[in-house]
Structures are given as C-alpha cells and as structure tokens.
Symmetry: C2
Subunit: 230 residues, 2 copies
DNA sequence: TTTGTATATATGTAGTACATATTTATAAAC
DNA sequence: GTTTATAAATATGTACTACATATATACAAA
C-alpha cells in the first residue's frame, strides 16, 4: 500500500472548551493584565462568547489549575502570580515519567551543581561555612552508609541554600526523588556517595573558604564524575 | 493590643472539589498506576465518592490540565505521561512573574550554562563543531548590534543542542523570553552581548575543539561574568 | 467607633437532558 | 472470508436550571 504522507495532519479536533481556552488565553495576553487585576465574571464571559457557563467554568478551571487566576466567592476572578515550579512539582512522579526524561533531569541536576560556584562565592557567609563545617565533620565520622547518604544530602542542601537563589533551591529539592530513583533503579549508574564523599566534601569546603569559584567547580566535577557514566 | 499568635492559621477552607482532588491524588498514587492504565469512569467515581459528576469532572479537569490523565469519548480516562516542562512553559510570562523570581530564573540559566562543559565534551560531534564554526565566523563579521545578538542566540542554542539533553535544551528555550526581559528592563544588568562575544565565542569554540571541560567552563564564566552583577 | 443584621452577588455544587464521538456487534456485499 | 455498511451501546462533552455558600456592601443598633 502507498504510505500516507506524513504531512497529512489529523483534522483539528478541538473541543469547545479548548477553543474557549485559546480565546481566553489570547484575551489575557493581549489585555496586558497584571496580578491583582480582575476579569469579567463567568456569566459575562459565557454571554460574550455565546457558550454555557459550564464550558466557561471548565476553561477557567484550567487557568486556575495553572495558577494564572484565582477565584473567590462573590469577588470574581483575579489574575495571580503563578508558581512556576509548583506545576512541575505536581507531575514529577518517577512512576509516570519515562526513563529518558528522568535521565535528563538527573543530568540537569549535575549540570546545575557544577555551575553553582560563582553564586556560592558571591553569597557565602561565615555562618553558612560554619554550618557546612559541622556537616563535613559529621560526615567524616560517619560509620555506615545510611549516615553517609544522610550527610551527603544535607551537605548539598546547605550548598543550595547558600546559593541564595530560592528557585534553584526549590528546584533541587524537587529533583531529589528523581535522583534517588535513578541511583536505585537505573543500570550503569553507581551510587558512589559512600566512598567519595568524606574526602570530597572536605575539599569542597576548604575551597569554598579559601579558594576560587573555578577551583570549586573543578572539585565539584570531580565529586560528581562517577555519575557521568550515563 | 496583644498581637495575634503567628501560629494561628486560617481554618482550612477547602472546597468540595479540592477534597476530591486530594482523594483522587491519593488514589492515583497508592494505585501504582502506569501510563496507559485506565481509571474508573466519571459516574463510577462520582458514585464511589458520593458527589456529583460535576464536581468529579472539575477535579479530573485539573489532572487533565496537568497532563496526568487524558480522556477520550467512550474510552474513559487513562493515565498519561505528563510533560514536566509544559506546565511551566504555560505560566512563564514575564508580565505575571515578580522581578525576584525572574532574577532567579536568569541566574539559573547562567548556572546551567556554566556547568554544561562536561556534557558538551562528552557528546560533541564534528558536524556540530563545524556548525559552530560557521556561526562564530558570521559573528566575527557582524557589523551591527542586531546581528550580534542574533548570532549570540544562535551560538548558545547550538551549544544547548550539542548537550544532547532535550530537557535542558527545551528549558533554555523557554527561559529566553525571561532573559530578554531582564536585559531590557532590569536596572543594573548590562547587555554586553555586543562587545564581548566576537572574541569570546571564538575562544569557547577553540576550547571545545582542543581543550578540556574545565577550560570551557572557565571561559564560559568569563563570557557571562558581566551578568553576574545582579 | 464598633457590632450586628439584611441583602445582593459571584462562585461552588447538584442534577437532568442531550450532543458527540468511538467502540462493539451485526448484517450486507464482494 | 474479507471488507464495507449499518445500528446500538457507551463514556465523555456541553447546556441549562436550581440552589448552596461565602463575601462585599449598606445600613441599623449598641
């Protein structure tokens, strides 16, 4: 049989609500709305678009889910500031994601960690360094794998906090389950947290105290190099 | 007056649909569903939870918005693989986000770019290097700011592509509008793309050809250093 | 000035009816 | 026997109505 042209696209099968969503999206975009601005009430929108309140509500519900608008009884709908990571967080489920995507997220985490040096040096404080010091010491005294891993997580968490960037910090926190999943389930990725850390963390800390961002990034590369076998 | 204790939290004001969402979320989580698995139809869920189909539909609509489930007529609902970046993309609107968040996103992009070296060296190909070569040459011949900026964007885009990580690549693409917004609107951030690039890009490329990841990351730091004044 | 009460209003929930698309079964045609 | 038409069944999609619920507003009472 002659193969169908790949250019043959399925006819657009948008539901009513899909169209309403697009219309409202364009309306919101072109209206230059700012957070706090209110939009017409459901009945007005339904009337303006010539559709039922049911359909309008479902379209609005999507925006509400994304955090673009908020609604309160008798106050109508207002534009809100969406939480850019919140939506991602809600779907970051290892059960649902495919392996390739998780591998890529894993890599993204590594990349971030290796590029973090400058932020850390820019915002490090004596208090934070002291805190890292105690963690590294605990790490050096750890006697079993569980303790190692716990301290490792804490060390990196404090580093991220030290970056002074709440978005990056949250991002990393979200990615932790993926990280664990990869280490446990993926073939070819060795969990080296036990063997490398207790010297490596010390080195990172010393560089952070007296070294340069370049040195730090380099040491971090070394710290994470085993994960790069993916 | 005695100040109210900050521990005094507002009483939980969850709507019916909110509760349904939580219930279904738990149901989905504990059920170990995989993409492709189907879930009970709306009427069954409504019946099981003792609520109207209307409310069930609104709760399901949220999951649909997040990409966790999909629905088709007469086929019911099936678990799907969510697009982790898709939801973020839909709300990445400079108009709606606050300046602090955008600054942090801007930083995140810088961090990623400075930690990208290893991936690039691991996956570089002759073809990609050749492509970068032509871009750098164009860049060196550029005569006005518009050309510089265009080439700069292209150079970085090819770098990201070279990383072989589609998630990172998409992520960067999504962040571009934020990047542009920051450069244009934020005080204290100088747009130095014109003055630094034509030498800096060449250096990056030469390192990528014959150098090491460390050298590359270092040069990238230099390439981006002006943005770190935030 | 505060506190209570009534009223209007916009969203939230329920229920019914029907539209629409897709599967399944069955019959007809070659 | 394989394909093609046709019909019935089914689950989601849309519309409409009615009422519940929370909140703003106005006004009265303390």
């Amino acid at each position: 049989m002659k193969p169908l042209s790949v250019k043959l696209k399925p006819i657009e099968n948008l539901t009513q609500v899909d169209k309403i969503e697009l219309t409202l999206q364009e309306y919101l975009r072109s209206g230059n709305f700012m957070p706090g601005d209110s939009i017409p009430k459901e009945l007005e929108l339904a009337d303006a678009l010539g559709v039922s309140r049911t359909a309008i509500r479902e379209a609005l519900s999507r925006f509400k889910t994304l955090g673009i608008i908020e609604s309160r009884k008798n106050r109508g709908m207002v534009i809100s500031t969406p939480d850019i990571l919140g939506n991602m967080e809600r779907v970051l489920n290892p059960q649902l994601l495919d392996d390739e995507t998780m591998r890529e997220i894993f890599e993204l985490r590594l990349v971030i960690e290796m590029g973090l040096g400058d932020l850390l040096f820019k915002r490090k404080t004596d208090a934070a360094l002291a805190k890292l010091e105690t963690i590294v010491e605990k790490c050096e005294k750890a006697t079993n794998k569980v303790e190692y891993i716990k301290n490792d997580a804490e060390f990196h968490a404090v580093l991220y906090k030290l970056s002074g960037n709440k978005t990056i910090q949250r991002f990393q926190k979200m990615l932790l389950p993926i990280f664990e999943y990869i280490l446990k389930r993926m073939p070819g990725v060795a969990d080296t947290r036990e063997t490398t850390n207790y010297t490596s963390h010390r080195a990172l800390l010393e560089i952070l105290k007296n070294g340069t961002p370049e040195e730090f990034n380099g040491q971090m590369r070394d710290h994470l190099r085993n994960y790069f076998t993916i």
